[in-house]
Amino acid sequence: MSKGDFGFSGKPVTDVTIEAIRRGDITLDDVRIHPETLEMQAKVAEANGNPQLAANFRRAAELTSLPDSVVLGYYDALRPGRSTADQLTAIATELSSQGAIKNAELFLQAADVYARRGLTAK
């Protein structure tokens, strides 16, 4: 097995067929990207002169295991005036505990900058 051969669920992408979909055997997790694939794409981005794109793919890899609603909730928490610095720090802790270290760093940095620039919840 190499990159992109299996979905987030671990099901080989070759098993994702029209027939399987019609049988109801396929879920969105079967056609969702696997974190290892994102890591591989990060290496490709690095090799093509874009470490920031690579960093994005690595943050993304951490988010693959979070449910859609949680991801959308975290996004909302980062919008201006939505969270106090403490709340952002708390999310960072939550993310760290789930192994999402890079996203945790992003939230910690946001907590710091938002406090300084008045972007936290009043």
């Binding site: 990159k3 992109g4 299996f6 979905g7 992408v13 994702v16 067929t17 029209i18 979909i21 019609r22 396929i26 879920t27 969105l28 056609v31 969702r32 990207i33 696997h34 694939t37 994102l38 591989m40 794409q41 490709v44 981005a45 093509n48 002169g49 874009n50 470490p51 920031q52 794109l53 690579a54 960093a55 994005n56 793919f57 943050r59 993304a60 890899a61 951490e62 988010l63 693959t64 979070l66 859609d68 991801v71 959308l72 975290y74 996004y75 909302d76 980062l78 919008r79 201006p80 996203n103 992003l106 939230f107 940095q109 946001a110 900058v113 938002y114 620039r117 972007l119």
Partner: protein, 744 residues
Amino acid sequence: MTPNEPIGRFRFMNEQRVNLDGFATPAPELGLVAFDGPNDPKPSIKISDGRVVELDGKSESDFDAIDEFIARHGLDLNLAPEAMAIDSLEFARMLVNPNDSRKDIVRLAAGMTPAKLAEVLSRLTAAELVIAMTKMRARRTPSNQAHVTNRSDDPLLLAADAATAAAFGFRELETTVPVAGDAPSNAVAVSIGAAVGAAGVLVQCSVEEAAELALGMRGLVSYAETVSLYGTEQIFIDGDDTPWSKAFLTSAYASRGIKMRVTSGGGSEALMGGAEQCSMFYLEARCVALARAIGSQGVQNGGIDAASVAGAVPGGVRSMMAENVMVMLRNLEACTGNDALMSESDVRRTSRTHPIFIGGSDFINSGFGSIQRYDNMFGPSQWNAEDIDDFLAMQRDWGVDGGLRTADETEVARLRKRATDAVTAVYSHLGLGDFSQTWADQAVDAAGSKDVTAGDLMLPLNAARTIMETNVTMLDVISALAENGFDLEAERCLNMLKARVVGDYLQTSAIFDEEMNVLSLVTDPNEYSGPGTGYQPTAKRQAEIDNIRQQKSVEDLRNEQKIFASQNLRVRGSAEISYDPRDVVIGVSPATGREIWMTLSGLSVTDVIGELMAGLEEEGCVGRIVRINDSLDLGMIGLTAARLSGSGISVGLQAKGTALIHRRDLAPLANLELYSVAPTITRELYRMLGINAGRHAKGATPEPVRNPYSDEAIEARYHTKVVSLVAIERNCVTNASPETLEVV
């Protein structure tokens, strides 16, 4: 003229369409200036212990959120000292020097601050920007994106128009909604239509950030673009985001394997009243640096929604193109504006697009309105359905690949039918709604939503609600397609889902070709290094560019003439010299009555001859029709005829309708009267020509005749036909002596 009224010349000029556009006196304090705003900083960077402590003249403690994010994430700090030390003009020259590779340039640009790149790009002239774009864009193969929307979110029309756009070659389709709640229905309809039209067409539905991501997570769209960035902190916050929330959003898309790019564009901060006395271009430089910093693979910019603001100031159009090149310098995908209509003038809007069109970008338009202007729910685009044939002709004129191709009418009709059938089947299967046959028939035929009168305006909203409430995903759509016999479309939709698992289309500038190969910075890198390098269309692609549906061959015109062929012009025998002073010879060209029967004005050759004969008769002369077989030159035809003529006067007539009066003692190329613009000659004028020839024969004074006036591009309309008709005439030239004809 009243005292306060301008003189006629200016009244006339004021009425021209360009004067509907607003032109602003630069107001730097409002950000109404393209380059060099009063608050634009000088480029600088200070790094201490691997940390940026000064960026473009601002020290760390004064960093706003945008500075902060760029400083912490966006720059290659190892390279920065070297890159920032390069003279800006020197670096600008590298952008147009074929010997400096794109790779080296993007490597150095990664160490340059926003102000530095703004300074570099402000040094390029328009022509240099074209070269820089040709060289610096990430993907070798250019492409294009279409808007597919309509006023009523009509799913059938959306699907038919999406299939049509795909048939015309667009590789990304962007839809949006006049009614926010309709979005899921639009996403489904356009995705189905795209799959009907071609394989590998990417689809997005532009709505509020979180809602757009939710559609992507369900697989209902395959990329996102309207993730907006702004160049000042205040306007960024007004847009209800921060660099951190945008960075997170960017990762959220990637975490679901969905391609995305951000949107920015000069003038938006001035438009929103928060430019902080900076130039549009400098603020855009911040946006582009931030786009790279947050890890977006690409940027849609070049004015965009504020294109008219940028277009209103001196150099504004150049700055919009420079914005695009800046994206390329940051090694990102460039979706190059030419989106919102920035002028009422066809000349100005073409001028704004043309350098980008010939330079070539990842997407020439970040939204070519593939539908009519009135149906574009983003507002009219710079290019619209009204202009598709113009765009195709421009591609052909310059041999340029602007991403479009000619679509066959019967094929488009078939695709539109199939698209509406597929949507009807899927909506019914999933309980989203039922369409009447009349509605479907109207959607297939419609040139726009005004042609669809049988639609149910509530259906899209109900369908959208059901999609959300019953959690319909692309898997359900695929299943419904397959259940109803749309196997090809089911397969194509499935392949778009599988592409998310593989992730190759997350890389910079990725699109799919129709065999589902990814073309991107990685797989199809632009390595332009001067003439003979870089993108060259394949022979197949060149043929698509060249063979527009309107082109006609000599053979086509020969066949067209055959439709009008008749037997009413007969040969009576060889033509002799006459000594009758009333005799006026009408000399006709070799193809007359053989291969050419219809003149360019739409009168038949025999009708023209009839008018000439009648005119001569009015003056008491007798016309004699003689075909001159040994020359197609009208002067020689006329002169030869005049030498046979008893009066010494002749009328010369080419079968295409050009006519003159000649006299036997004149030089071949001289004449007494000439009707040179055949397409505009009327029956009355031919009659007048006959009358005047008669008067010349009698030695009376002819009435002066003027060629009819026209401000139309008569030559553009007819010159290609003329070339073919002349070729047909040439084929009929023989050594045979003149022969008398009669109309029967």
